[in-house]
């Protein structure tokens, strides 16, 4: 039975050391009446036990470095260690966010140059790196759209259009900015239903949030028509860059007529996913929306980089300082290593790997959309339902074979779906092995469905009681 670090506590043990106090320090006492009286219930633990605790927890976890991790819409590509090496340089880690600008010219150069690179790959003209993740960047984009309409006295625009296959963050973001969400249907080909879009768009439309390729891994061939319809009605277009990986230097959101967008650096630009963050969500836009970008911003004047802390039309701040600097500096290096040449290769290989896997897996599972995909694709496990086996069961059985499960039951509009994204990193041998494992699992479904239904069998734990966890929540050590 796994123990928490709190349960490993041993009286009077500790790991810390502190610089020696001078007598002049210790003779000063804080005011008695404000001192903490309650016990501080943190563990007492030595450094070796603390070290082993985390080693033990590491054994109960798996990342890209350990296993194939084809989690759709998450772009689990290699996290190059050179990024980690450089992000740890003291020249970066020891800079304070309020340091005088002439003492942090290196940081400011990275900010300015990364925005320039991202503008070039996105077809936008300006950007900001201050949002701390994709969802926060979406909020920035929607706030910028609101500011744009407000400036034009266009106060009746109270709706945001969002396709029914969108990432959950899109409607949640629009709701945070108090917009009414109008959901747009997907047609039988996996593309946006243009008739439904035409019916839904109006003088109340503030904008449309869209990812292209969409969450089915399909690029919309009518994207320019979509943009035209929304723009003709005075709405703006937001591009959710979660699926940008197959687009790098192939096609640009700016050229698709989007007005504002974000990029998830932990996806396309390989910054570590970290067990769920930190991310970083650069916001990029065209000239229409440039003035509304958040502050602080970096400008180059007379060969020197300066920080603009305030700007009249800006929507203002979105994070405490400059965003997740140590994350986007990794992305900067990743972009520099690839160059625009290498970035194009990323896109092409991601698409090639995904299509290869799709053709192979398509022989085992239902393929709802047969056309070539971009970086990811959807398959359905519906033909095994009569054996009592669901997409969830297949996902769990994959774990036993040393593969992380794909995204399951998303997008919500496809029954029993698995969303698979292999990324450009993976070798053909890994993809072939995945197909082999899937073949074995399909065989197991035929011969011994119980084995699949009760998977996983080789993990630290078997299936967990999620209902029980929510019914009687235990949310901390007591």
């Amino acid at each position: 039975m796994t123990k928490t670090i709190f349960e490993k506590s041993q009286v009077d043990q500790h790991a810390y050391s502190l610089p020696k106090d001078a007598p002049e320090f210790t003779e000063i006492h804080p005011p008695e009446k404000l001192l903490r009286h309650s016990t501080l219930n943190l563990p007492e633990i030595s450094e070796i036990d603390l070290t082993r605790h985390f080693s033990e927890l590491a054994r109960r976890n798996a990342g890209i470095d350990n296993i194939f991790y084809p989690l759709g819409s998450c772009t689990m590509k290699l996290n190059p260690r050179v990024n980690e090496l450089c992000a740890a340089f003291p020249g970066f880690t020891r800079t304070h966010p309020l340091a005088p600008e002439d003492s942090v010219q290196g940081n400011l150069q990275i900010i300015e140059e990364l925005i320039e690179i991202l503008c070039k790959v996105s077809g936008m003209t300006a950007g900001s790196l201050t949002a701390n993740a994709g969802a926060q960047a979406e909020f920035v984009g929607i706030r910028m759209i609101a500011a744009y309409h407000a400036k034009h006295g266009d106060v009746k625009r109270t709706e945001i259009l969002i396709p029914d296959n969108a990432h959950g963050t899109n409607p949640a973001t629009a709701a945070m900015a108090v917009y009414k969400i109008v959901s747009i249907r997907t047609n039988a080909h996996g593309d946006m239903d243009l008739d439904h879009l035409r019916e839904s768009v109006s003088e109340r439309t503030a904008g449309l949030m869209l990812t292209n390729p969409n969450t089915l891994g399909l690029f919309s061939p009518v994207i320019l028509e979509i943009a035209k319809i929304v723009h003709e009605h005075g709405g703006l277009l937001y591009y959710d860059g979660a699926n940008l990986n197959p687009m790098l230097n192939v096609v640009r959101p700016g050229d698709m007529e989007f007005d504002v967008m974000h990029i998830n650096l932990h996806k396309t630009f390989s910054t570590p996913h970290g067990g769920g963050g930190p991310g970083s969500g650069p916001v990029l836009c065209n000239d229409k929306l440039k003035a509304f970008l958040p502050v602080p911003r970096v400008e180059k004047r007379g060969g020197k980089y300066q920080i603009l802390w305030k700007d009249a039309e800006s929507i203002g701040n979105i994070s405490s300082f400059h965003g997740n600097f140590a994350i986007y500096l990794r992305a900067y290096l990743y972009a520099k290593l690839h160059g625009h040449f290498g970035m194009r290769r990323i896109a092409e290989q991601a698409v090639l790997n995904a299509n290869y896997l799709k053709v192979k897996i398509g022989k085992l599972l239902t393929v709802p959309f047969p056309q070539p995909c971009m970086h990811e694709f959807v398959v359905q496990a519906d033909k095994y339902l009569d054996k009592g086996v669901s997409a969830l069961d297949i996902a769990k059985r994959l774990l036993d074979y040393g593969v992380h499960a794909p995204t399951i039951y998303f997008p919500l509009i496809v029954k029993e779906c698995l969303l698979i994204e292999p990324t450009e990193s993976e070798s053909k041998a890994t993809l072939d092995r995945f197909v082999e494992i899937m073949t074995i699992i399909v065989g197991e479904i035929e011969s011994n469905p119980e084995l699949v239904k009760s998977a996983p069998h080789t993990m630290a734990v078997s299936r967990l009681d999620e209902v029980g966890a929510a019914k009687k929540p235990i949310l901390k050590h007591v």
């Binding site: 404000l34 970066f92 992380h404």
Partner: protein
């Protein structure tokens, strides 16, 4: 360079299996007029060249050569060596949100322990898995309070909250057309309690108080929370978590929601991010908490395990009805924060907080006696305080910088009338020798 495994040989086989001749064909859906031409020349770098590039950029930052006293929401603490060792473990570094709990027990337990440690420090009942940073934690707390008080659309915020945090709160609230009232501060940096009583009323959903405030002053939060309780407004305390090693916990001073930035534990300054926001609350508010929460449960064989729980609050389930749009949060930064909290442990956190207090108090005491230097004495401080010089601040900064000291945050950038004032932060990293040197230079200015 790139990190692509498959080369010409494999690609040919794969193209054949797909039944196309070129990769270009797979992009058939992309309208021709939108497709870019392939870049001809390889403009990438080798790994070695990349490292050299980054070394050169790091060298352009001269700031690390200064003995600096900057705080204001980002503090220069020692980061224990174990933090880097733990956070660079590939099982944590390269995994993602624990959607498949059976293969993510390590990270789930880490989040559970982070939640437990935040609750231990703040004295609150429930914590989430993390938010982005201190400013967004304040903003999320305000939105949370407004959800708890659906009939109220007013919040009251101390003017002494970090000015950046306040603008982020405004950013999150602006679309809700929430009435935001600001409690001014007195000359010594403390909250104007009379104004507080006028502003906090039965239309107020929450009152947000920093602890210590932007000027390093420990506010009398109890007085505020007692008053807020009478009108059923929620008290939100935004704190440097290290303060709880010394002064009363959020629970003791009457907080309903405790938020702040965990950076002082385990996260280097790194130019402002990543840091880690925390949010903790009383039991009865749990359904309104934003973001991920991990709970304990059992598997089919009754073995203990951990899962993401209470997910009916979240965007991937509830979409526009979610409590927040947050998805990716700051998991690895939360792990850094947890590791540092554990390395200090029960006694170490208290000792760390005390020595921070004492070193700051020592510098304050020494500066106070310099003619021409003014420090307000009626307030109680933690590890940061305001110093007023007789000279204009530009002169003060220039003189200190000549001696390779960055002496504090120039407050005139936030409050234009404070044009002789510095906000000075002192942590355990400052020796007596450094502090005495600071005093010497200040004396020469005197």
């Amino acid at each position: 360079m790139d990190f692509i495994s498959n080369k010409e040989t494999q690609n040919k086989e794969m193209l054949q299996a797909i039944g196309v001749k070129t990769v270009e064909e797979l992009f058939f859906a992309v309208p021709k007029e939108l497709r870019l031409a392939s870049p001809k020349a390889d403009d990438g770098l080798s790994e070695y060249e990349g490292i050299k590039l980054m070394e050169a950029l790091a060298a352009k930052n001269t700031f690390p050569q200064f003995d600096h006293y900057l705080g204001a929401g980002a503090y220069d603490h020692h980061v224990p060596a174990i933090v880097g060792a733990v956070c660079s473990k590939s099982e944590f570094l390269t995994s993602y949100t624990p959607y498949q709990p059976e293969t993510s027990q390590g990270m789930l337990q880490i989040i559970f322990e982070f939640q437990s440690a935040i609750c231990a420090l703040t004295g609150m009942d429930i914590s989430n898995a993390s938010l982005y940073d201190g400013s967004s934690a304040c903003a999320e707390a305000m939105l949370m309070a407004l959800r708890c008080h659906k009939e109220r659309n007013k919040v009251v915020i101390a003017e002494s909250l970090h000015p950046h945090y306040r603008t982020v709160v405004e950013q999150y609230l602006i679309s809700h057309q929430t009435q935001i009232e600001v409690i001014p501060f007195l000359k010594d940096g403390r909250l104007d309690m009379d104004r507080m009583k006028q502003l906090v009323d039965d239309k107020t959903a929450a009152v947000l108080i920093p602890y210590p405030n932007f000027f390093g002053v420990i506010e009398d939060v109890k007085k505020v929370s007692e008053y807020a309780k009478k009108v059923e407004a929620l008290t939100v305390v935004c704190a440097n978590p290290l303060v709880y090693g010394l002064y009363e916990s959020a629970a003791e001073i009457g907080a309903d929601i405790a938020v702040g930035d965990g950076q002082p534990f385990g996260l280097p300054l790194q130019y402002g991010g990543p840091y880690v926001g925390y949010i903790a609350c009383k039991q009865e508010l749990v359904r309104q908490l934003p973001g991920r929460i991990v709970g304990e449960t059992v598997d089919t064989e009754n073995r203990r395990g951990f899962v993401l729980t209470l997910q009916a609050r979240e965007q991937h389930i509830r979409r526009e009805k979610a409590t927040s749009n947050i998805c990716t949060n700051q998991a690895l930064a939360a792990l850094a924060c947890l590791t540092a909290m554990l390395w200090y442990g029960k006694e170490g956190v208290k000792k760390l907080a005390l020595t921070n207090y004492q070193r700051a108090a020592y510098l304050k005491k020494r500066l106070q006696v310099i003619p021409g230097v003014k420090i307000q004495e009626s307030a109680v401080y933690f590890n940061e305080f305001v110093v007023e010089f007789s000279q204009p601040i530009d002169q003060v900064l220039a003189y200190f910088r000549k001696h390779h000291i960055e002496p504090g945050v120039d407050l005139s950038r936030y409050f234009h009338e404070m044009d002789h004032h510095l906000l000075v932060a002192v942590t355990e990293t400052k020796s007596k020798k450094q502090l005495d040197h600071y005093v010497l230079i200040a004396g020469e200015l005197g």
